[in-house]
Symmetry: C2
Subunit: 279 residues, 2 copies
């Protein structure tokens, strides 16, 4: 048997996992969920639509215009719909022929944790809180490599909200625990400092870099980032008015790219499931 | 405690479930997955991007131009990106201000089962096969009612591929088993014949209606469809060249709207989790 028959893709964005490969993705996420629960995180779930007005609060569109994907549809009047139907029938060629589009009030979530801060807008917390979410994420990419670089992928995150001190100890402990998991599965990797792929960094105000993700480390395996550790300081706390002890709360997140971990297991252990350390 | 605090929404498309409500959604899907496995279905998973050229094979854009949602992004050149960033900064108002968009090669899946037929294109099956998938689905809607009518929602499906005879017995057994599940949870409902919401039905060729979904029944609870039973005859078999015994295969699917079942449980049993029949 060959892992190729368990991976469905059209080389442009369609992705499907079947058989043991689907089982591996589920087992990996279960391990990350177990890790999150052992950290005392509550499990929550969010759909992938985030309001434009919420992402404006973190000036997302200035920083990442090249990554953002947004859902559109045909303007809701019968003339526009008939024209769209007429130019996109079974005989049409190429991509969708667009005509009048409806307004775009939401974008497709580029990361799983944003929804958590949005949902907690205005909250005041007495004690630190941890939340875990698994989200479908979307990012516009110039190339497609199944399991490695996909316009649509799954991300499991563990979010910590608290003081600067609790954020730092959470991240330190999480780094140790994730390195331990990777070692248990024989995945060779290292943790390095990283920066988010800002648009046009030469023109971006420096303070934006510093404020958005002042501290980001990535766990890389074979030159591919499979997890990241992010200290946002009080950036999301300020943007969404989430506070603790009368001040904007500090936040951190640990993110796992599910498909990339599947890829790391395949690269390390080959395509025969009997050799996989988990399934 | 109140279910309101476990439901996060912005009344326009953002949706999140926390606490016992998240647990209820998970428990419902687990029950549907268990049902699927008891039917001998294999579990698979697909991302929500479907190629435009694949949906053209079933003439989807002629039949449902009003429902289809597609992901777009800004055209990948620095001038277009700078303009987009400039008009959508933190000070901007309203929906996204669009300028030049990149090509649209994929749409956001309107149903979970399409990916199954796309992934099996060209296959020849000796025996019937059953597959279960849980997908994030997108449909353009003119109104938003959390848990009832959402632009983005989750759908669990059980797909059967085989002969006309095995399709019919699968659907008959599935109807019985789903009615039994609903009765077990005290959800009052009925099964009625239904039609898909075709665009402009007066102008649509009759054969299209007949061919696309010749037989659709819905399980409705409080006027809301919470499951559907669809006999596609050989429509997908022909479109994607999936065959059995030398002829286009027949297919059927049973679909569960996860959020709508959450809503049905809340309507039936109230918002206190101690009264829920599953969690």
């Amino acid at each position: 048997m060959n892992a190729e028959t368990w991976l469905h893709t059209d080389q442009h964005g369609f992705i499907g996992l079947a058989g043991p490969l689907h089982g591996l993705a589920e087992a990996l996420d279960r391990a990350f969920l177990d890790l999150a629960l052992s950290f005392g995180a509550e499990s929550q779930e969010f759909g992938p639509l985030l309001a434009v007005r919420d992402l404006r609060k973190i000036d997302y569109f200035s920083a990442f215009p090249h990554l953002v994907m947004f859902p559109t549809s045909v303007q809701n009047d019968s003339e526009a719909l008939r024209e769209f139907a007429g130019t996109n029938g079974a005989q049409a060629d190429g991509g969708l022929h667009l005509n009048r589009l409806g307004p775009v009030s939401h974008v497709l979530a580029p990361a799983a944790c944003y929804a958590v801060y949005i949902a907690m807008e205005g909250a005041s917390l007495d004690v630190p809180r941890r939340i875990t979410v698994k989200g479908t994420c979307f990012r516009s990419e110039t190339s497609f490599a199944p399991l490695v670089r996909q316009p649509c992928f799954r991300m499991r995150e563990i979010v910590h909200l608290g003081s600067q001190h609790t954020v730092e100890s959470f991240l330190a402990e999480a780094r140790d625990r994730v390195l331990h998991l990777a070692a248990e599965w024989d995945v060779k990797c290292s943790i390095d400092a990283a920066t988010d792929p800002f648009f046009d960094p030469a023109r971006s105000p420096k303070y934006l870099h510093a404020r958005l993700f002042p501290s980001k480390h990535e766990l890389t395996a074979g030159d591919v980032a499979i997890a990241s550790f992010n200290n946002h300081r009080n950036f999301f706390g300020e943007a969404f008015h989430i506070s603790t002890q009368g001040a904007a709360i500090h936040t951190a997140c640990v993110a796992f790219g599910i498909e990339r971990w599947v890829n790391a297991i395949l690269r390390t252990h080959g395509t025969d499931p009997v050799n996989w350390p988990l399934s």
